[in-house]
């Protein structure tokens, strides 16, 4: 009987993993329809490190990629090196690590739920349901199929938590847990806050085993060893750690300060300064803002209807979860809180910690920065689903109903993701630059200059698709290193390419340079029409206009 049960679970797990693999690898190179600038950037930096051991800025084996001035953690780029070496610099190689780790993440949630609810009768079913939910989750699929930092980070976080929890049975697992949790520091910025907090919680959960026989000392030594490169990088340049944080931080946004100034002014000069300070102060205003940001991530409109509106994480017409998850997830959360086991509450803490870093930024709600929350939400879904299935008397009818509902929702998502986005929303993924580079490559020899309107960091596409020699680019790149309003640094030019950030074609066209090719993104065209060539989105609308002079 036991043998049969094990086999059944394994069979279902294999089915789920196969499904997850198909969904993550099918048409990986062409859907999403274009490499987003961040993906192209990571890919080219991986290529650059492969060829020269240096990133695009010429830094030897970087611990943080300066990239567009957003100081990306480097692990995803390092993971891209083997596929790039094997398959060349292309979309598939760049996205492959994320896709593989996405499947790995589905497997890990199965193991994790089995481990956490060890004594619960439902653990086997809950583990399978969690894996199933994650395999089909729109949120998880979107991040797995794109080469984003957060997918890599999530995988190593799960691995770290898994090994740390396994430490109860074999203490050597604490070392692995510490190692993988620290690895996440190099995968995504937010993990530098999330991982230590989770690490702390895990230590509290396992303090008896962890503080025995100097395990804690060895674990901390591993952590110290792992973060040493980051510390050394930080000493050389603090931006290695805080570069991105300072530009996306809630404190960088002037709105709150301006409101504070407005309220203080309204109090008038006759008001007692102490009372004015008492009512209008930064701790209260920013505290309120951070709390509001935090809870925005639980807004039903964000979760179930609209999702993340920022590029490229948008899935038009749906949220980051399926609509009916809204029934099972709260039920699962309730059950989780009701459970006597402290591990039942572990996922609540995981959920809160996952959202906290996003609350400290001003662009909310964000599906990218809160991606780690997909794990506790999957677990809640499985608990809620299991609970409902137990409550319904007619199992077959319930199964049929739920299958139809789930299948409809999943089909709807598939239609949006695999058909609508490539056909009608390819602009979300910066479509057009690959085609433009292909066109220019054939013509470049005939022109002295190629001037490009700088929308979506086009320089990286010219480097990526032309497989431009990294050593040459490191010498030729002209950069101002001045951050724009969003904190990004632009490349002004290299070789015969010139990139103009605020190009307005209506003005530029009056003073054209001789023997020059102009590539103007549709956002910089104004009302102008007519050009020698037009690169179009798949919907047929113009993306990049090409002018010759």
């Amino acid at each position: 009987m036991t043998m049969f049960k094990i086999n059944k679970a394994v069979f279902f797990l294999i089915l789920i993993l196969s499904l997850a693999t198909c969904l993550r690898l099918w048409k990986l190179d062409s859907i999403p329809p274009s490499l987003y600038s961040d993906e192209a950037n990571l890919g080219y930096n991986a290529y650059s490190i492969l060829k020269t051991f240096r990133d695009e800025h010429g830094i030897f084996l970087p611990v943080s990629l300066r990239s567009f001035g957003d100081w990306k953690p480097p692990l995803p780029a390092y993971l891209m090196i083997p596929p790039i070496y094997l398959f060349g610099l292309n979309e598939f190689s760049v996205r492959l690590p994320s896709a593989i780790l996405g499947v790995g993440s589905v497997f890990l949630i199965y193991r994790l739920v089995n481990l956490i609810f060890l004594s619960a009768s439902f653990r086997g079913k809950a583990a399978l349901l969690s894996a199933f939910f994650l395999a089909l989750s729109p949120w998880h699929l979107l991040q797995s199929r794109a080469s984003m930092l957060v997918m890599v980070a999530l995988y190593f976080l799960q691995l770290g938590v898994y090994f740390f929890l396994k430490g109860k049975t074999d203490r050597r697992n604490f070392y692995w847990g510490s190692l993988f949790l620290t690895v996440t520091f190099y995968a995504y910025y937010g993990m530098r806050l999330i991982s230590p907090l989770l690490f702390l919680i895990l230590i509290i959960y396992n303090y008896r085993e962890f503080f025995r026989k100097k395990i804690w000392l060895k674990s901390f030594l591993i952590v110290l060893l792992m973060i040493t490169p980051l510390i050394l990088g930080f000493i050389k340049n603090p931006d290695v750690v805080f570069g991105r944080a300072k530009t996306v931080s809630v404190f960088y946004d002037r709105g709150t300060d301006l409101r504070l100034w407005e309220l203080t002014t309204q109090d008038g000069i006759s008001a007692d300064p102490l009372i004015t300070r008492f009512f209008h102060n930064r701790p209260y205003q920013f505290g309120k803002k951070i709390l509001s940001n935090f809870f925005t991530h639980f807004h039903g409109k964000f979760l179930f209807l609209e999702g993340d509106k920022s590029q490229p994480f948008e899935t038009p017409g749906m949220g980051i979860l399926y609509l009916f998850d809204g029934i099972f997830i709260p039920a699962g959360l309730f059950i989780s809180l009701k459970l006597r086991s402290s591990f039942g509450k572990f996922f609540v803490i995981w959920l809160i910690i996952s959202i906290f870093p996003a609350a400290l930024t001003f662009m909310v709600p964000s599906s990218n920065r809160t991606f780690n929350a997909v794990i506790p939400l999957s677990v809640y879904f499985s608990l809620g689903f299991y609970y409902f299935s137990r409550k319904i008397h007619s199992r077959i009818l319930a199964a049929l109903f739920l299958t139809v509902v789930y299948f409809s929702a999943f089909t709807y998502f598939m239609k949006i993701y695999f058909i609508s986005i490539p056909e009608n929303y390819s602009h979300i993924w910066n479509y057009g630059w690959k085609q433009a580079t292909g066109f220019v490559q054939k013509q470049a020899a005939d022109y002295d200059n190629i001037i490009v309107s700088d929308v979506g960091m086009p320089y990286i596409y010219f480097l990526f698709y032309n497989k431009y020699d990294p050593a040459r680019f490191q010498k030729e790149a002209v950069r101002s290193y001045a951050a724009d309003q969003f904190g990004f640094e632009h490349v002004l030019g290299f070789n015969k390419y010139l990139f103009i950030n605020e190009m307005d074609w209506r003005e530029t066209k009056n003073s054209l340079m001789d023997n020059t090719l102009y590539l103007v993104h549709k956002d910089r065209m104004g009302e102008e029409v007519g050009s020698a060539e037009v690169i179009k989105y798949q919907s047929g609308l113009p993306a990049v206009n090409i002018f010759r002079n």
């Binding site: 709390l291 809870f295 039903g300």
Partner: protein
């Protein structure tokens, strides 16, 4: 036909506290206000709420806490100070709920419901269902439900208050958030969900309003939200744990600060803005 009145062994202390709550309400409504009748009426809504909740929870403390929380809410204060007829509707609604909770006979309950509906119709035409059709787009309804049940509306920015109303705060103060969540959890766990059901009905009526988010129906749910919060407060405070007490103490201090913030905003900034 009638069930028993709740135990009143601490009659004097309840009376004293209710009087204090009423005095607080009268002061906060009459200070620099011209809407006399409405102000005096709404000052006693917390008292009616107390009697309803004392019977519902069978615990006077929860009823007292909830009544006090209700009197502190930004929109209760703001609406109490103006001639808004919706105040009378809340008063009437709570009276109806009290009668409803004491009467067991179904036919009398149905009769009572129609009586309440009739009086409400005669005295107030502001509710959309007296003069209009509901919203008919499913997507819009879902969007409205999500907005109405969002933390943003409940604790940060009450957009249901009509244009020109105080939108600097949510329906409840941020300090009440932990109490609200604990209250909700406790009520669901103990399967005492009548209050949640009534709130759900009011919320559904609210989201169907053609003038949503500026719908007046939502104010009928405020006493219920106060009750959930009061239940949470009671739950947290009555767990004899130093950490809980410290946390509750901190939240009370923060609530005082937030109330002061609201009153400062209401009397100084609101007229300017």
């Amino acid at each position: 036909m009638l069930c028993r009145w709740p135990e009143t062994d601490n009659f004097m202390s309840v009376f004293l506290l209710l009087t204090l709550i009423s005095i607080f309400n009268i002061i906060i409504r009459f200070f620099n206000s011209s809407a006399r009748f409405n102000s005096s009426l709404t000052a006693f809504v917390p008292v009616v709420l107390y009697f309803y909740l004392a019977n519902y929870f069978k615990r006077k403390k929860i009823a007292l806490i909830s009544s006090f929380i209700f009197s502190l809410l930004p929109q209760t204060v703001a609406l109490g100070r103006i001639a808004s007829p919706v105040n009378f509707q809340v008063f009437l609604f709570l009276l109806f709920l009290i009668c409803f909770s004491y009467i067991r006979k179904i036919s009398v309950r149905i009769g009572l419901f129609f009586l309440w509906f009739y009086i409400s119709f005669l005295t107030f035409r502001g509710f959309w269902f007296y003069h209009s059709y509901p919203q008919n787009s499913v997507y819009k309804l879902m969007e409205n439900i999500f907005n109405l049940t969002s933390f943003n509306l409940l604790f940060f920015n009450n957009v249901t208050y009509y244009w020109g109303g105080v939108r600097e705060n949510g329906i409840l103060y941020i300090a009440l958030l932990p109490f609200f969540l604990i209250g909700l959890f406790t009520l669901i766990r103990s399967k005492t969900t009548n209050i949640i059901s009534v709130t759900a009905v009011i919320f559904i009526l609210t989201v169907m309003s053609p003038s949503y988010p500026e719908s007046k129906e939502i104010f009928m749910a405020f006493p219920m939200l106060s009750a959930v919060t009061g239940r949470g407060f009671y739950e947290l405070w009555h767990r004899n744990n130093l950490l809980n007490r410290l946390f509750t103490g901190f939240l009370i201090l923060f609530l005082i600060y937030e109330t002061a913030q609201f009153l400062h905003y209401y009397f100084i900034h609101f007229p300017l803005e």
